[in-house]
């Protein structure tokens, strides 16, 4: 293993993480809800589900974040590494998988681990492991 020092951004990543933690804290303290984006999207897709307008407003804030950021600074670098087919397959897997697994990086990885939930700890280990293996297979075994 070699560390990519050139792209390593410890301070902005820590600060961004702290901001994510602050947002999740606000949502649970004020609204009594977990900031799990896949769950919020799932509810949004179900008309008449509980608390749909509150959840939609959280998603709206998330959606316009780059526009608000753009008022003050240029957006950070955004580089996609896959073509349309890879994006479509990945999107499908992320959609189905997060619903079956009841959460994603935010709901399990941030909120669940903060709650010390055994399910979330197991889910986070599982999707991290699957992510590491997938990148290894795609980049180093298949060489794409």
């Amino acid at each position: 293993m070699t560390i990519d020092w050139l792209n390593f951004t410890p301070w902005t990543s820590l600060a961004g993480g702290a901001l994510i933690g602050l947002a999740a804290s606000l949502f649970v303290l004020a609204n009594g809800r977990v900031s799990g984006i896949s769950g919020l999207l799932g509810s949004f897709l179900q008309p008449g589900s509980e608390g749909r307008s509150e959840k939609a407003l959280f998603l709206l804030g998330l959606l316009i974040a780059p526009l608000v950021w753009g008022l003050f600074a240029a957006l950070p670098l955004i580089a996609f590494k896959s073509g349309w087919f890879g994006l479509a397959v990945a999107g499908l897997l992320v959609g189905v998988g997060t619903r079956y697994g009841s959460g994603c990086t935010s709901g399990h990885g941030v909120c669940g681990i903060s709650r010390r939930s055994p399910r979330s700890i197991a889910a986070t280990i599982t999707f991290m492991f699957a992510g590491f293996i997938t990148v290894f297979v795609l980049r180093h075994l298949l060489g794409s």
Partner: protein, 139 residues
């Protein structure tokens, strides 16, 4: 008031993702590439988030109502099951292919990249597929 706090929480969450580098699929893949030139940044995103959120969540876990009077709705299930692990495996494979998870997917929508639309469309189809499969299972 709860609508306002929901909106602010979402906005802060999105700004945090942008600042952290999570909204850059290339950076996420750099974190997932242990065997290549590894960028450990995203481990620090989780550390930062969990350090900040742990005390509020442990306090929230002992309350029945939020500060604004909403019912506290934290998940109560603790047992592991096949759906949790299987679903998380599928999610991790998808995450490893494109380097995008649901939060950043929403943030990326309005950054003028066509790739974000393809990903989000497929992700929503996947979520609806889950709902359809669940409805069939219930019959």
């Amino acid at each position: 008031m709860r609508k306002l706090t929901a909106f602010i929480a979402g906005l802060l969450f999105g700004i945090g993702l942008l600042l952290a580098g999570m909204a850059n699929p290339g950076k996420v893949l750099g974190f997932l590439d242990l065997a290549g030139a590894w960028d450990p940044s995203l481990a620090l995103v989780m550390v930062g988030a969990i350090v900040v959120a742990s005390v509020p969540f442990s306090w929230a876990g002992k309350q029945s109502k939020s500060l604004l009077g909403a019912p506290m709705q934290l998940p109560v299930k603790r047992e592991l099951d096949v759906r949790l692990i299987g679903g998380s495996l599928l999610f991790g494979i998808g995450w490893g292919i494109a380097g995008i998870c649901p939060g950043p997917a929403v943030v990326l929508l309005l950054t003028a990249h066509w790739q974000a639309f393809v990903f989000v469309l497929a992700m929503l189809v996947g979520m609806l597929l889950f709902t359809a499969l669940e409805a069939r299972r219930a019959h």
